[in-house]
Subunit: 343 residues, 2 copies
DNA sequence: CACGCCCGACCGGATCGGAGT
DNA sequence: CACTCCGATCCGGTCGGGCGT
């Protein structure tokens, strides 16, 4: 009865289903994948039954070609093992799932050149959108990146940057500068006057903005101009930088502002490993409110960022036709025990 | 001179390049994408120049169809925001990048039914391989999952499970049971006799194995049979379970074994929040050695897992033709301050 | 006779115009 | 004259066979 031919290689195709059901390709296509046209109930059932019997699943690549648009969104992060990016990715993936889209992920490893190369490679997927979560702005390769971005857009792909705004892209912003300023305000109110900022490399927009906001806020509150130490934005970099600072000598009551929570958490560990007391002796604050911040001791003072929600927003920005820039999410300062009041 | 026709829609196609270079489609294809055949240097240059001028990038979907094999690998995790999965994903992505493959990611959110549905959906990509990092084994839907897996394999896709072995798949294993047993051994040697295991849901293979190993090792070392409390494998679940335990009353010197580090870290926070002392009062141990374990206080005693390396191994298992199961990586117990010697 | 280019069939599916009842 | 199904064409590539030099 049914076709007993040994299937040569791969998965059952629409042709197979059509033959099995005794209908044309076009009809099978219509019942299995949406379409405006109608198909009589009898045919519909026959096709469905055949598809189930064969275990048919549409080949997404073929659909992408035929339809001229793919169901994928690309996400570019610095390192998916970093909780900051992990939470963002989680939000992106969640929203993508709801929209029936597939997420492909790539890591820049904080290398601007890799970022350009990856955007170019990702272009091959003809994604509906690309979410750039790891971007710098004033980088040396900004032009190359801009060019790639333009290419993506010319193929109908949306490009959205999360955090730092990149020219000509949709951007999901949050108020780095205002947040850092508010944080500095609270800290000066708590009595802090001396600070060191553990910043990222110059030109990294997110870092630059937070640095600017913090510096301004700290000055407004009566603090001294903070010293700036630059390094990678990672736990280990924060640890190393802090260890060096402690060797040089750091007075009690000094505040360390890690440009991001991972840096701050590295700093806390370095302080403890040096035999000093994080919080009461050397205070520490961060930015992002990654989940870990609740579990370190003392609890990390930081600026709350709704990371998963930001990821979800970014995805929506990447796929929605009618998208209007939402108001930048406003941030909330969370004072925990890593910055006790100075008496 | 050059064709000034307004490009209708999308990206430049190979046709465009061929026309621009004045060569045939086949020739353009051969120079731009590898091929055994040779093409004269003069043509090669003409084509390259044209491609560069147009900013051509091959359409991966079209290639996938034409070649009959796609350049993607799918990764299934429970939640990418969980550092355990984040580090694994990082390893997978890294290795994929080296192999010139693209990684698509999906989250099961710890729902077995979702897992089945996702594998089915992922099948549409005709991936070269699927890495299942979030799998249970003795689940109710095991049959459905097995069926989906078989389908993937029949289309030439490799399926590899990380951690728990799934029938008929390549598996990257690590010694959950032996590791937990070794951990229990060290802990009894430190003087612990009473333990509570914060385990995952029954049927979750990884959890079951660790539980079995720990129980056996603890008994061997002279400890009492541990009490078992089950919950989700997450920081919050660990926190809640521990808070409840503390309310019921937990004697000093009790050891809490979190089936995974995230659970253990939740436990530490719960102990501290309850006004007790993690480590000296209630000891805590975990499993996985996620990065955060170094930064909590006291440092978390755990079993080291080379998560990124495991991810990389899984990717290789998913794509290599000649793959032989590597020896299961052996694990190392790391005793830190969360389990001080009992006197 | 080799070498190296071009022609054409094909991959899996979407969609439009036409045809059958 | 409605409905609804089918054949043909196209999407963007790959690849083997044929053919000119």
């Amino acid at each position: 009865m049914t076709d007993t031919t040994v299937r040569t290689g791969g998965a059952p195709t629409l042709h197979d289903v059509a033959r099995e059901a005794g209908v044309s390709l076009a009809t099978a296509s219509r019942v299995l994948n949406g379409s405006t046209r109608k198909v009589a109930e009898a045919y519909r059932e026959r096709v469905q039954a055949a598809a189930d019997r064969l275990g048919y699943t549409a080949n997404l690549s073929a659909q992408a070609i035929a339809r001229g648009t793919s169901a994928t969104v690309a996400l570019l992060v610095a390192d998916i093992a970093d909780p900051y990016f992990g939470q963002i990715a989680s939000g992106v993936a969640h929203a993508a799932d709801e929209a029936g889209l597939i997420v492909t992920i790539a890591m820049t490893e904080r290398d601007p050149q890799r970022e350009v190369a990856l955007v170019r490679a990702l272009r091959g997927q003809r994604p509906r959108g690309i979410v750039l979560a790891a971007s710098r702005d004033t980088a040396s390769d900004a032009d190359a990146l801009t060019a790639e971005i333009a290419s993506v857009q010319s193929t109908g792909g949306r490009v959205v940057t999360l955090g730092a705004a990149l020219p000509g892209t949709r951007v999901v912003a949050y108020e780095n500068e205002a947040g850092a300023r508010a944080l500095a305000g609270k800290l000066t109110a708590l009595g802090y006057r001396d600070a060191v900022v553990l910043a990222g490399p110059e030109g990294l927009r997110t870092s630059d903005d937070r640095l600017a906001g913090f510096t301004a806020g700290f000055a407004d509150g009566g603090g001294a101009t903070p010293r700036i130490v630059r390094g990678q934005i990672s736990r280990d970099a924060g640890y190393e930088a802090t260890a060096r600072l402690l060797e040089e000598g750091l007075g009690p009551g000094t505040l360390l502002f890690g440009i991001s929570d991972v840096v701050a958490i590295g700093a806390i560990s370095a302080i403890r490993d040096a035999g000093r007391a994080p919080g009461s002796d050397i205070a520490v604050a961060g930015f992002d409110d990654i989940a870990t911040g609740r579990d370190v001791t003392p609890g990390l003072t930081t600026v709350h960022l709704p990371l998963e929600e930001l990821g979800a927003q970014a995805l929506r920005a990447a796929v929605e036709d009618d998208w209007t820039p939402p108001a930048p999410v406003s941030l909330e300062v969370l004072v925990r025990d890593s910055t006790p009041p100075r008496q």
